[in-house]
Subunit: 339 residues, 2 copies
DNA sequence: AACGATACCGGCAACGTTACCGATATTTTA
DNA sequence: TAAAATATCGGTAACGTTGCCGGTATCGTT
């Protein structure tokens, strides 16, 4: 069925080439102590047999693997893609290759088991270090360096990169307030994530600062997905005194607002102002005003930090804060009087 | 700096628990031959020490790894993301985890060296099998099963999944021809890829079938990127007798057409009809008429095939053809007379 | 001519894990 | 009650690779 030449090993190469295993290994690792004729000969045998070194065996024995690991529960959502783009870029510029590990689904394995698994991936196994996206635990028993992106809790054990979620939320709110909105709905993120909590706090504090009351009815409980964004929007808009603007915790939730609005015949921004958070690819096309948290750069910077750590360099700071920026497009409008 | 508990091994666990290494291994792999008290005790020690099994060592010794590998030169472009989404979904539904391998850049390592590397990844190393996206070689010396997506050449050695590129190109062309266009520009893909050649052949044959001459000037040499798409468009539009419609080999190239048109003040579709290929995420927002090749499904199906192979099942067919479909949006218009 | 320096190469051990076999204690069977 | 079956565990040998040590030739030096 397949053309399989069962597992060619370094021994096979040595036998066929008529040299020792050590010599083959030396050729493979480009050590100095081999005559050029032997080198050439061994190389030709390697090519002939189609030999490739077994990564598992190699990484068990030697220490430098030139591989960076990356762990994410799910790679099929915009945030993940943006992070990966940034990581990819930094990797392309480096001597390292990248290994992305995923279970495909957050719910697939329990949290503990999942964390367990990915620590295995690192724990002086395959990679020289790893980037972990949105980890839920703070403790890793590993020798290899770790950098986290948008971690659950700020953790002193290893460096992390995250956006200024609080400030970003404040900026978004101030913008809406300046436009004259006073009833502003909020769609929250997953409650267990710090990013979500920081944004919620920004929402609350911005209102407090201008002396507006906080109506708990206006805070809908989301989870960063479009589906839940839809539900939250329906809740908010069916209130007796519905909001004139909605601040969604992320752009995917904001897409839910768009969907519901369209169904209800509400125009954005004429009838409803919407602001998001993240600035994912799609937001540009939807002309969504949002808070850019430079996800791409977060991935890029995290990778650079990790590579520094792997190379034994010291870091200036343990937490790298990525400044957010309000991107004004066309989904918000001045609020004129009621209705 | 980091809290490192240096490399806890199975030996450490055994010593602390007061049992043999074998017993710990049995507990880890949930074998039957262990009393429940011992099991519990060992498990508690494992937890206490924060032990996790070394993947490299394990996969060197045992055969089932529950890991699917995926190899792509670059993960930061829309096609790759769509494939990954499909793969991710299939993985989420399976018992397997996913390991995506990339160098971050096609040009980073020479082709041979790159192929070398990723065969290593499989070659009875870490994974049970692998999905290879757009491989350039047809020969892999490996024991583990392989499925390729959009391969360079149709290869009998292992199954592959690819779209009906020829038919899709024909459909696109027929649509433009029916709209009355006779001078249709073409932006080709990377010449070494079959997909690109099949689309070009579709372009040529469609013209031939209706008896239109093939003007080689109208065929611009692209490489599936937006940047080159821009250059090609400029070439095409600066011809003495410019095309009234452009068929771009993929959507990213089509985005180049959009960019140039906007700069030149040309309206799409009023002044220029554009059709693409791929139907990536962005195309929807650009209202680009295009040929959907169901990239997501390609990833999904490829993964399912691979898992079947890993489980020792036989496949019905070696090449799985994904039917394309013309998606009509708003980037094409009837052609009325000249200029 | 005798010595040390050098170039090149082979042998052995080790990495951490699992498969296999065999050993002991306990229970079941005839 | 003796033999056999079973449950539970330990010891040892691999898996394929690289690091280290040491062993030959060959060469240069005096």
């Amino acid at each position: 069925m397949r053309k399989t030449r069962k597992a060619v090993t370094i021994q096979d190469v040595a036998r066929v080439a008529g040299v020792s295993v050590s010599t083959v290994s030396r050729v493979l690792n480009e050590k100095a102590d081999v005559s050029s004729e032997t080198q050439e000969h061994v190389r030709s045998v390697i090519k002939e047999l189609g030999y490739t070194t077994n990564l598992a065996a190699r990484s068990m024995r030697s220490y430098k693997k030139n591989l960076v690991g990356m762990v994410m529960p799910d790679i099929a959502y915009p945030f993940a893609f943006e992070v990966m783009r940034g990581v990819n870029q930094a990797i392309a510029e480096s001597e390292f290759d990248l290994l992305v590990y995923t279970t495909g689904d957050v719910r697939k394995s329990g949290r503990a088991s999942h964390e367990q698994k990915y620590v295995s991936l690192l724990n002086n196994s395959i990679t020289d270090g790893a980037i972990i996206v949105a980890p839920v635990t703070g403790e890793f028993s590993t020798d290899a360096p770790i950098v986290s992106i948008d971690p659950l809790m700020s953790n002193p054990n290893y460096p992390s990169v995250h956006a200024t979620n609080y400030q970003g939320a404040m900026d978004a709110m101030n913008y809406l307030l300046e436009l004259g909105h006073t009833r502003i709905g909020f769609i929250s993120g997953r409650a267990e994530l710090v990013s979500a909590n920081r944004r919620l706090k920004g929402y609350r504090d911005a209102l407090k600062k201008v002396g507006l009351p906080i109506d708990e009815e206006l805070i809908a409980c989301g989870d960063y997905t479009t589906d839940t964004g839809v539900i939250c929007t329906q809740e908010l808009l069916s209130l007796d005194n519905p909001p004139t603007a909605i601040f969604a915790s992320n752009d995917q939730a904001a897409m839910g607002v768009f969907q519901v609005s369209q169904k209800l015949g509400l125009r954005i921004p004429e009838d409803l102002s919407v602001i998001g958070f993240d600035n994912i690819m799609e937001s540009r096309y939807m002309k969504l005003t949002t808070v850019d948290q430079f996800i791409y750069q977060m991935g890029f910077v995290a990778t650079q930090l990790l590579i520094k750590l792997i190379n034994g360099e010291e870091l200036d700071t343990q937490t790298y804060k990525m400044q957010t920026q309000l991107i004004i497009r066309e989904s918000c409008q001045k609020f004129h009087g009621s209705t």
